[in-house]
């Protein structure tokens, strides 16, 4: 895998702000594209939950490390609540009110720990633009109670100084890569190494979850397919033996034929009328 293809994309806290605030302007498609695809990612260790959306139980006994969805949600504001399995919504352990889901977007909502170990919910907008033929998109999200990290592929840092709750991404050659996560600027491995199979035309989203202190660091992965592009062309011959159609000489021949016919005809005609 050629590491030069990794393009570091500024992560910034902008990602989180974007999703719930101003994404509508960026991703809103035509008026008919009012629904968004929403996935839910569980990254809080040891805490299965029930998930309520607008007061209605949507996920039952949702386990850490699982990914649910995608749900097709109409554009609008949603109340999200997490409870311990079976407990009433009134005793929710985590709630987000009036989360704005824009139209026509692809969103992942992660329930995870913040850098200090407190549970929180962070929405991410997934980049589902097409990748070039032969490429795959890798997105890494820091959603663990851990300090800044570097993500390495084949031992070389490709995303550096990533902090909770931000993401880094790049389009890379499709194929397998051995990746690990180290504390930023060090060789201290926090997660991995693991073999990542990056399938062409997909986005693989890897969430770092858990807690460094609790020794529960792990990863959750989500894959989005259908982002492939066709090759630019299919060049498959430079011999010319199978050429069809006609060459320049054909037009010369045809032109000469027409001129001869006209010339001959005119002379015949003038001869007949007796004019000399």
């Amino acid at each position: 895998m050629q590491l030069s293809y990794f393009r570091r994309v500024a992560a910034g806290g902008a990602v989180a702000a974007l999703a719930f605030a101003g994404v509508g302007a960026l991703t809103a498609g035509p008026a008919y594209a009012a629904t968004s695809k929403v996935s839910i990612v569980h990254g809080i260790p040891d805490t299965p939950v029930d998930v309520y959306v607008n007061g209605k139980k949507t996920l039952d006994n949702f386990k850490p490390g699982d990914v649910a969805g995608p749900l097709n949600l109409e554009e609008g504001d949603y109340d999200i609540a997490l409870t311990k399995p079976g407990e009433p919504i009134g005793s929710a352990i985590l709630t987000v009110d009036d989360a704005a889901v824009p139209g026509g977007a692809n969103i992942s909502i992660a329930a995870h720990l913040d850098a200090t170990g407190q549970p929180k919910i962070t929405p991410f907008v997934n980049d589902v633009s097409k990748v070039d033929a032969g490429k795959a998109r890798l997105i890494v999200r820091h959603t663990a109670a851990a300090p800044a990290v570097d993500v390495r592929a084949g031992g070389t840092p490709v995303f550096e100084d990533l902090t909770n709750p931000n993401e880094a991404k790049g389009d890379v050659d499709a194929g397998e890569v051995k990746a690990d996560v180290v504390l930023a600027g060090t060789d201290t491995v926090a997660i991995g190494p693991a073999d990542l199979n990056l399938k062409e035309g997909t986005a693989t989203i890897v969430y770092a979850i858990g807690s460094a202190e609790g020794k529960t660091l792990d990863v959750v992965a989500q894959t989005i397919t259908g982002l492939h592009s066709a090759p630019g062309g299919v060049p498959s011959g430079d011999g010319g033996q199978a050429g069809t159609g006609v060459d320049t000489w054909w037009y010369v021949l045809t032109g000469a034929g027409v001129l001869l016919l006209l010339g001959g005809g005119v002379r015949m005609a003038t001869a007949r009328t007796g004019r000399t």
Binding site: H42, L59, G65, D66, V67, A68, G69, L71, N72, A133, G134, A174, A194, D195, L196, N197, L198, K199, E200, G201, T202, T204, V206, Y207, V219, V220, A221, G226, H228, A230, P231, G232, G233, V234, P235, S236, G237, D238, G239, G240, Q241, A242, G243, T244, G245, V246, D247, W250, L253, T254, A256, G257, V258, L260, L261, G264, G265, R267, M268, A271
Partner: protein, 217 residues
């Protein structure tokens, strides 16, 4: 008959001869033509998705495993005398184009798309029509394939799978709907591609692509 009349007659005869020769050449060099274009395009339309299930699908967020794809390794097309080894190929980094195997007697399967196991989408195999250095290629006579002709693709699992030609199309390279032929959805089908149409001797380049679409027989 005057000298002048004879000259005129000769000119007329030469003109007729020239035009006849030109017409013959033009007829012999007809493009491959297109059959079954509508069927080929219908195959590419994705099946309507089933009404969304009431419950939300939940999956374990495991790292994606290696894909289980069965590459074609051999292609037989009796009607045009093709017996060719199929190589798994990808994209030319420099040109962003399909990397057709340089050896003209071998053909290339697009390894990023579906393999023979796929229940949806287009398995794409491309081969040279010819080459300036090596002469005729494996797909030299691809343009002669017609609806109903059969072909056999053998996978790396040793299983031979039969296909039936439903369409043959010719497109200018600038206009060919490649997205449709490299689609990963729609009915399962085998798409064969080579070059054809008028040849630009200066650029050493054919104007068109010939595309043959076949479905499991």
């Amino acid at each position: 008959m005057t000298v002048r009349n004879r000259g005129a007659l000769a000119a007329l005869a030469a003109g007729v001869a020239a035009l006849t020769a030109a017409a013959l050449v033009a007829c012999a060099n007809q493009p491959a033509g297109t059959v079954g274009a509508e069927e080929a395009s219908t195959l590419a339309s994705p099946a309507p998705t089933a009404a969304s299930a009431p419950s939300v699908p939940v999956t374990a967020g495991e790292l994606p495993a290696g894909p289980k794809i069965i590459p074609p390794v051999r292609l037989l097309i009796p009607a045009i005398g093709v017996t060719a080894t199929v190589n798994a190929v990808g994209i030319n980094e420099r040109t962003n184009e399909f990397e057709v195997p340089p050896s003209v007697d071998q053909i290339g399967w697009y390894r990023y798309g579906p393999g023979l196991e796929a229940e949806v989408g287009s398995v794409v195999i491309a081969g040279h029509v010819d080459s300036a250095k090596q002469g005729k290629g494996a797909f030299f006579r691809l343009r002669e394939l017609d609806q109903g002709d059969t072909l056999t693709a053998t996978g790396s699992d040793g299983e031979a799978r039969r296909y039936r030609v439903v369409a043959r199309e010719e497109y200018a390279k600038t206009k060919i709907p490649l997205d449709r032929y490299f689609a990963r959805d729609g009915k399962p089908r085998l798409t064969l591609i080579t070059c054809g149409g008028p040849f630009d001797a200066k650029a050493r380049r054919y104007r068109d692509n010939i595309v043959v679409t076949a479905v499991p027989a």
